[in-house]
Symmetry: C2
């Protein structure tokens, strides 16, 4: 039984309801952020809060909540959850619009959620993905716009793929909810532009830089099929190996050494948070 | 006091609430349609129903409601409204997602709303608009994605403009919630590709064709500044003259004759619906 905070009130999530004229619902005018705790403490909270504020600024939705107030909400929701670890979702919309289109006072929702558990076997084995020519609108904003991914659900099922890798006319950008990395001849590369800069991406870059050459650069789609290793980073996927893209095996279909090292470093950092 | 039908139940709109894990709200996975009555009868209902079904198909959200069932809902909501005319909004989303991302059973909302009244003075005088390089994702779908328009609200206020005209790198497409037409040397032109094909657009094309040369074709942005007349079509704007675009006067800043004739024909058709 998880709880949510909505415009100042805490209630069970299942009892938290929004109006049908909320502009996030009615007009897709919403943004969010998502993170989790390790040892009960929000992981990389400062970075997530900074990004959430940046998304709000770019989408021009005023965020009146202060950081200290947000921290009080997180503590309350965590205590109510009675869980060892939780995920938090902040969601900010343009508010309720009696005329169906004009922004009024923004609505802010904070949900505590169960942390999805991905099996250690999945991390060892890696996942299959497909590619799609698609560019998110203003990719620097973590908007709620996932309609492209959701409209591809049946395609993903047919191809037994877990996720979608986007490119803009052949230039790699990001996955639907995570960042993409490749390893070639020991060098780690990840796209620099047209992406949402993930907090796990930022963390992994910091963990890699002491021992690896890392390039944030433009990458063409063809390069990824020639890579020695490919992996993706996100709050839930951490450092997840990708072993097949569009039916083409990557790295002989086995999770590579660099991916394993970075996952291990990430787990060590998170475990001591 | 308007009423809504939501997943089989009718209630006051203000008492109709959605869950926070609705995929339209959480993930922008939603589509809609919007139309109004004239003389109490849904205007061009067959065309709107066809388009709503097409949007659902393209976004891959199953729509189980049958046309006859939808008509019963419209009648009930209209009767409850106690109004002479109403607007209807259908909104279909991917449903509630306990895991925040996987489609379950779709949610369908039908709202009866007051018809916005635009003054006859506004129709006579026309409106000012601004342009924006922006392409809606899968424009053939009437999705709920209006975040670009809403993020431009403060810009619109500063420029005293009413709406936004989109182009894709200089090629005209559509306005934020309506279609665009220009008149040059007596020929009516409107974009053919990359647009949502409006029902008012379709109606106006039928009303124009007996007496005017009409071209559905590619149009470059520069052409519109050289036009004799520019107008836009939608359920609420009907045939609305545009007299200023990005601070450039169109047609000497006066509503043109073709625009007036087409508005008059549209009003005659609607009045006798």
């Amino acid at each position: 039984m998880n709880y949510s905070w909505y415009n100042g009130k805490i209630d069970l999530t299942e009892n938290t309801r929004i109006n049908t004229d909320d502009l996030g619902f009615l007009r897709g005018y919403g943004l969010f952020d998502y993170f989790r705790t390790y040892n009960g403490k929000p992981f990389q909270w400062d970075w997530y809060w900074e990004r959430f504020n940046n998304s709000a600024k770019l989408l021009r939705i005023p965020l009146s909540l202060k950081k200290r107030e947000a921290e009080v909400i997180l503590k309350e929701l965590f205590a109510l959850s009675k869980l060892d670890e939780v995920a938090f979702r902040f969601l900010l919309t343009g508010g309720n619009a009696p005329d169906s289109s004009t922004m009024t006072a923004p609505n802010l929702l904070v949900r505590a959620e169960n942390v999805p558990v991905l099996s250690s076997e999945l991390f060892e084995r890696g996942i299959s993905i497909i590619t799609e020519n698609y560019t998110r609108d203003i990719p620097e904003i973590k908007s709620t716009d996932y309609k492209r991914l959701l409209s591809l659900q049946t395609v993903l099922q047919e191809k037994e793929a877990k996720d979608v890798l986007y490119h803009t006319k052949g230039q790699l950008t990001e996955m639907s909810r995570s960042n993409i990395f490749l390893v070639k001849n020991g060098i780690i590369k990840t796209p620099k532009k047209g992406i949402l800069k993930g907090i796990t991406r930022r963390t992994v870059l910091e963990l890699a830089k002491p021992d690896f050459e890392v390039l944030e650069t433009n990458i063409q789609l063809e390069e990824i099929f020639e890579a020695d290793e490919v992996f993706t980073t996100s709050t839930n996927k951490k450092v997840m190996s990708i072993i097949k893209i569009d039916d083409i095996m990557i790295g002989g279909g086995l999770t590579g050494e660099v991916s394993k090292i970075l996952l291990s470093r990430f787990n060590a950092l998170a475990g001591s948070w």
